[in-house]
């Protein structure tokens, strides 16, 4: 009886993992096939030495440019989020001052605001600031949306750090800035990693804000560039699957290497 139930559970889990992984495996295999092979036998193993499609994506399309843009936008956003988030969290967690609770509440309120729906005022604002069709438009938006969770995570973490080191350094006459930089921040690194991962995935994958704010092909990020690219190579499925594979692979590899951190980071808001 018990064995039968566990057997059923195994069947469900194995079936589900096949459903989850098969589309990704077919995608990767199709990247090495010709149109005819994809249409006739989508499930057969390809000749993995035939990298013609991948080379074409690399050389004949703007794929590298899109990839670089995504790196620049995501990298700068994460760096700014961590710098600004750590500044606010450090002040809120280590100093007592009037208005501290109000400021924390201000950041927490940002957790629930759906910025997508404010895209019309954002558009006008970016136009007035001369930021339409620049990377700054995206970076500033991502920083604003990423700050609330980051401040939330880091404040909790920095509060839990012990006082002794800080007090000792203060007795020795170290400046506040030096205490923060040399003594406290090295201890905050683990929480920064969680905050970074939590922000990387939605920023790297975002499609909505580039769609609104970026027009030049030179500035398009990867998800946005992919839609352009699908239009251009609409009939060459081998190239299409190669493009999708190359875009998905960096995230998939990172996820497999750091799956625990990914899961913790991405469900952090939902699990109390």
């Amino acid at each position: 009886m018990a064995l039968g139930r566990d057997g059923l559970i195994q069947i469900i889990l194995i079936g589900n993992s096949i459903v989850m992984l098969a589309p990704i495996i077919i995608m990767v295999m199709s990247a090495f096939k010709t149109n005819a092979q994809i249409f006739q036998s989508p499930f057969s193993l390809p000749d993995f030495t035939k990298v013609g499609n991948l080379v074409r994506v690399w050389t004949e399309t703007d794929f590298i440019r899109y990839l670089m843009n995504s790196f620049i936008v995501t990298g700068s956003s994460i760096a700014l989020i961590l710098v600004l988030g750590t500044m606010a969290a450090y002040a809120l967690a280590r100093y007592e001052f009037r208005g501290a609770n109000l400021i924390l509440l201000f950041f927490l309120a940002g957790l629930t605001l759906p910025l997508k729906l404010a895209v019309i005022p954002l558009f006008i604002q970016m136009r007035d600031l001369g930021l339409l069709d620049t990377r700054f438009a995206l970076i500033f938006i991502y920083v604003a949306t990423g700050l609330p969770t980051t401040v939330f995570i880091l404040t909790g973490f920095i509060r839990s750090l012990p006082n002794e080191l800080e007090d000792a350094a203060r007795m020795d006459g170290a400046s506040e800035a030096r205490i923060m930089w040399a003594i406290m921040l090295p201890l905050v690194r683990p929480a920064m990693v969680i905050a970074a991962i939590q922000n990387i995935v939605p920023i790297w994958n975002d499609f909505f804000f580039p769609l609104i704010f970026i027009q030049s092909n030179d500035l398009k990020t990867l998800p946005q560039g992919l839609t352009t690219f699908m239009g251009e190579f609409g009939t060459d499925w081998g190239v299409l699957f190669s493009g999708l594979t190359l875009s998905a692979l960096p995230v998939i590899i990172l996820y497999i290497a750091l799956s625990r951190q990914f899961v913790n980071g991405m469900t952090a808001g939902a699990i109390k």
Binding site: R5, P42, L115, I120, V151, F207, L240, Y255
Partner: protein, 306 residues
């Protein structure tokens, strides 16, 4: 001496908190507050005109052709929410329960179920669009290979199946999220409680319905609320798979697409229309805010404090 030290300290604190607050105010809080104001003005292109009270709201809710499209899109959002409730949250709960038993290989299955979640919606949409291609897509090719060719359909090309096809793609993409949130909820149930139940009853159903389900209520509250927010913000997947007009014939149109089309124009209507667009944004925001607070409050009531 003391006072100068104090002001120095205050300056230091200000230097730390002012830049982040400025960023949040300028690019998050201020645009959202403006969004409410904008909906009450007339707009000519990108230029703000007169204050016109509720005219924009009246237009999108009651004036042809806006009203018809609003209702069509709204009904699709409702359908998406309930369909995903079953396909995403329901299946997620079942999978969480299976993973919770920690049978051999559970770790692998846990990594597998969350893998699509980390992919970009654009990749997922484009991938499934290729799979669902009527002639060459892997779905119809395999149906024909299995001798089920009569089931092969133009999934995204006909009104009756297009929305459902996109919903299934969404469920494939996101099912790992409720699964792992529910799993975390189950893992927090103290083992003493489970041991006590095991002494009382053999029935798995009683254990599920009377113990596990009530005790994972906090996870359910979060997952249901997030699904509702997601269903009414639904934009990227229908945009990629069904196109900006919600083709075919508006069968995949949802409020997010309709809002985008109204505000920023589309192939068929190229001009920006910020007035009705802002009104739609405010309406979507109100629906999300009101319903998700009702869901949260009602579900909180059945949560049990351990």
């Amino acid at each position: 001496m003391l006072s100068s030290k104090l002001t120095g300290r205050n300056l230091w604190i200000a230097a730390l908190v002012v830049p982040p607050i400025a960023f949040m105010s300028l690019f998050l809080v201020y645009p959202i507050l403006s969004a409410f104001a904008y909906a009450f003005y007339e707009w000519r292109g990108l230029v703000r005109g007169d204050f016109i009270w509720f005219d924009n709201f009246y237009r999108v809710l009651f004036e042809f052709p806006f009203s018809e499209r609003t209702i069509n899109a709204f009904s699709h959002n409702i359908f998406v929410f309930f369909a995903l409730m079953v396909l995403q949250n329901g299946v997620g709960f079942l999978l969480a329960y299976c993973l919770w038993r920690e049978l051999w290989g559970a770790r692998f299955h846990r990594v597998a179920v969350f893998l699509p979640v980390v992919l970009s919606t654009v990749i997922v949409g484009l991938l499934w669009k290729l799979f669902l291609h009527p002639l060459f897509g892997a779905v119809n090719v395999s149906l024909r290979a299995m001798g089920l060719g009569f089931l092969a359909q133009p999934w995204l090309g006909q009104d009756s199946t297009a929305l459902m096809a996109i919903i299934v793609a969404n469920a494939w993409h996101m099912v790992g999220f409720p699964t792992l949130v529910f799993l975390a909820g189950m893992q927090r149930i103290p083992s003493e409680i489970l041991d006590a139940v095991r002494m009382e009853t053999e029935s798995e159903w009683v254990k599920m319905s009377k113990i596990v389900w009530p005790l994972v209520a906090p996870s359910a509250t979060v997952v249901f609320t997030l699904l509702f927010v997601g269903a009414f913000n639904w934009f990227e997947l229908p945009y990629v798979m069904g196109g900006i007009d919600g083709s075919p014939h508006g069968a995949t149109d949802v409020l997010g697409l309709y809002f985008y089309r109204t505000a920023f124009g589309s192939m068929s209507a190229s001009a920006e229309n910020f007035g009705p667009g802002s009104a739609l944004a405010v309406l979507i925001f109100l629906i999300i805010a009101i319903v998700s607070s009702v869901i949260t409050i009602r579900l909180r009531k059945r949560e049990i404090q351990l």
